[in-house]
Symmetry: D2
Subunit: 337 residues, 4 copies
């Protein structure tokens, strides 16, 4: 079978290799992958910026959708023919995250899913909401679960709350959609008026162009009567944190998710204290969260925003497209067409 791997860090070292098709172990399912989606993390992983000590070669990508081809003798959770998605951390089933569970992430700690076939423990798979295409389902495991965990599991979002989401990447658009699904108001930021228009078409109530309105946190305060947002979905990282702390209300929640603008910066922590802010780190989520989210997606017939789907042999192009920042929503790579 064909699989992508990189033997050295760098997009230029990402290549398709021939590997033996895996056999499912007694508790495993063999999954024929149909589509994968990209996360910014994948770019960092391949570049070696995520974990410079990662053992190589490694198969990249954590997110995807496939069809169960065969199962081991102890498996009852899924059966051949089922459409499934792997969970991001293969052993985070329920309850709190632990160090051990965090060491089971696909396409990072262990080999990922940008491969024709993958054998995974059946406990590490969830079923696809029936109304979703393979491309759409491939978008859920990391970005959607992260947004769900931030707003619903940790954030206990309710109707009437205001959610501020940064940009129009995968997590932010899922945050937009989950917020609207729960009757919340959404303010979204972007550097592109065109993308703000598309976000409004997806349900955003307000858009702020952070290029023309550099102090976007002041605009966010003005849009909330000076109170601030209840939730800020912070994907920018250390470079935007101070603005997010200003944009959130007293006792509000800033979900720290991404590091697009870097992991380290000079940060003034005084607003955290004085405004009694909860800065909540979010690292994807458990299978239990994934399944709760799938019930919601199925009930609301939510459709993820897919930007572009690339053929299997253009995975590097897909990563370059992500890097360009031109995308709106999720980028997909298709397998087994």
């Amino acid at each position: 079978m064909k699989a992508y791997e990189f033997q050295s860090f760098g997009l230029e070292h990402l290549r398709i290799v021939e590997r033996p098709r895996p056999q499912p172990g007694p508790s495993q399912a063999l999954v024929r992958m149909r589509a994968c989606s990209l996360n910014y993390r994948d770019l960092m992983v391949v570049r070696g910026h995520y974990n410079p000590k990662m053992p190589l070669p490694r198969v990249p990508f954590s997110d995807g959708c496939g069809i169960v081809e065969a199962v081991g003798p102890n498996v009852s959770r899924v059966k051949a023919g089922d459409r499934v998605m792997p969970i991001f951390m293969q052993t985070w089933i329920d309850g709190p995250l632990t160090d051990e569970k965090s060491r089971s992430a696909l396409g990072g700690a262990i080999d990922g899913v940008l491969t024709e076939f993958v054998a995974l423990d059946a406990e590490g798979l969830v079923h696809v909401p029936p109304h979703l295409s393979d491309d759409q389902a491939a978008c859920l495991p990391c970005a959607a679960v992260t947004a769900w965990n931030a707003l619903v599991t940790q954030g206990r979002l309710k109707a009437g709350d205001t959610v501020l989401a940064q940009g129009t990447g995968g997590v932010s658009l899922f945050a937009l959609q989950f917020a609207r699904m729960h009757g919340a108001r959404v303010i979204i930021t972007s550097g592109s008026d065109e993308k703000l228009k598309r976000a409004r078409d997806l349900g955003a109530d307000e858009g702020i162009n952070y290029k023309s309105t550099v102090d976007w946190e002041d605009a966010a305060l003005a849009l909330t009567g000076g109170v601030g947002a209840d939730h800020v979905v912070e994907v920018g990282g250390a470079g935007t944190l101070e603005r997010s702390l200003r944009a959130v209300r007293h006792m509000g929640i800033v979900s720290q998710i991404g590091v697009l603008t870097g992991v380290t910066n000079d940060v003034n922590i005084a607003p955290i204290l004085m405004k009694h802010i909860r800065l909540q780190g979010i690292y994807v989520g458990s299978r239990a969260m994934f399944e709760a989210m799938n019930r919601a997606i199925t009930q609301s017939k939510l459709v993820p925003a897919v930007d572009l789907a690339f053929p299997f042999d253009q995975a590097a192009d897909a990563l370059h497209h992500m890097e360009s920042g031109a995308h709106f929503g999720k980028i997909v790579v298709r397998l087994n067409p």
Copy 2:
């Protein structure tokens, strides 16, 4: 000014009397009532079934909408001309309910709002969501806050949950609307196919006619794959509790709200233990809950289901209409047309 009062228990003793227009105290607002809505409790109050020892005469009704006519010198919360609703328990502002706060309910512990003017502490008023008519706003203080408290504050409802609501009275229809607002699935019961159709038009996903399907809890189980509903809005009381305990899932919540079928019955409590059920009593809610709900109603442009609006001099007819059970949603009495 004109006001309703009853000097003895019984609908036949409910009459319009002339009373002096009250003056607002230093911390009070004088409110010119525009519309009141009925709750089943009002029927019980006037009949003497709610509290047989209630001091008489008493002005009935807790729920309404009015316009601030004047305010005392210490008042900054509202101003003349504001459209407001009184909160059900006048001293339950925030935090947990106490015995003392529970003794401040309008139209029960103290005089109610079926009167042309009422002077209330400004802390006991909230502003009306701008898109609502007076009739619609009059529906919120008891029924809507109760449904919000049950599902959102206590129930922490999230998208994808299943809510089972009994009947098509005020609380149940607000429960339906709040559940849909949060992306939840709604199963509603009624003795009338016509009402079930109207509930579906309001957003209910499923309807069960409890006359043709006596064991409606079995139908609810079947509709949830045998699992049971996440939330049951229990307005029936002791007579329906056992069925509700059967219809809810393991670790689900039954919100005990109403006593339409009586307060006392032979109850088998074993399912509470064995299914780890939370039976949560709900007694309306605080001003903080009311205000959070109003933000949600404003954001979602929710419109309460008003059944019929009666003129001021037909308040007894309005109560008879409620008693007949023919209504769908809230019954209103209009003042100061």
Copy 3:
């Protein structure tokens, strides 16, 4: 090996039989039982009052402590020589209870632990706090986890709260100890002044003799300044529920645990609504709760109250002793002396 079983319901049918020593499966551990403890449920099970349709023969008892004798090849959670306790529901590891998990309870749904050896999935075992004897550890799986779940997991007990515990059986004494461990105040009821004295020696702040003070709920109210207890540990069942609803404060929690006085009774549910009470069914708890509790027991060096330890061949006597109500705390049966 020797094991107890009953082929028909009734204490008189409980007998020691010879069974082949089980072999651990690939994911199992073989445990040499050292001590078992009794719960009131065991009496109901053997009598056929718990589940009259239970398939027979059945090995009784859910609770015990033993030593791992051998493990299957896939087991890393425990190793030979480890002192362990089985969890009550063998598949309730973490997250919410489900119908399926509830069907894995030892000594009920499946064979129990009153046997010299038992083979259990390694996931269904937890380690014993080192300072506890085998007799003491045998007391934890059902009664202690139930009290922990009620007060800590569900009840979110904090210092300064008041806990009212009914009687001096296993759950109630663990509730007393956990409440004191968290800095809470404890009121305990009993029909015996002698037992009340012993409860005070264990840390109870107040004792009420429900024989001399029939309306013990009034005494509890008086002891809390008329406010009521924050938590009531309700082991009596339908027969005492109304008094418990009266003894708890507004928005307090009544944990419904036991059915000593029956499962069905005429119950007036009005106080649940009017006092905004949470009646929370408790059905033991998960392995995650058990392990959190063990950390607390280890930190505080808590020692369970063991009433009497019977030799293996006197298990029926132990059950008769429980039935007599003469015990204070947990009754133990010792194996493999």
Copy 4:
């Protein structure tokens, strides 16, 4: 009457002045102060480091204990002769903090309590636990409520948890005491072995000298089996935050309380994400928290650790003593001896 005030920033400008004794307004109580306690914030306030734009002159200090001398006609909450403490933010009664409530802090936003008499709204006072001396009670309003809010209200501390507290100042020692009160394990850091010994005498399980063990976070990890503490009480500020993020477990809570080492620093936020950490800002707490804490203090007979009590005319010396860092626990200034 005598009162302290400063007309310019700087300890050297702190002086005793003669002011007219205030009269209680209709809803106010006049309190004769008996003792005040110092917080690090007071040093920052007087120096002008807290709010350089603070209007002057200002009476310093937020914390104290006094006796009600007289009350206005609308007051029923307290009466003459009652021993009371003011709440830190005079309008944060219950529910969430708002910007408006945060602008009512004593000795900062408004005049403080280092004065013979102060007139405060009766709603802004709480009663003193009877077993405490005036000096001891004066320690509670800021430091103790902060520690309670961090560990109990926000942190939902339970027995068996591990709490890491930095240093032996007021907040940290209350954290130690509340943690022990709830059956938790306590690790405390200090630069002094002598102080570590005193902390152990107060109940700390472990002490780490951060001078001899510079990488104290590694020692904390080792003491928790590599897992990390459940709660870190972070009073150091930006300078210690990275170490605290390392010392806490996955999904643990770092309560951001103090800024002893500065408010701004280069911070690597990656661990917040990857360990799913909650960094929770704490800004003292509400009256409801204060009263819940007082119930706990009364139940457990907790006695605050008072370092030294200075006479009224030596308030500047008291502040210099705090600045020296030589203290263990709270520093007090006595009035009206």
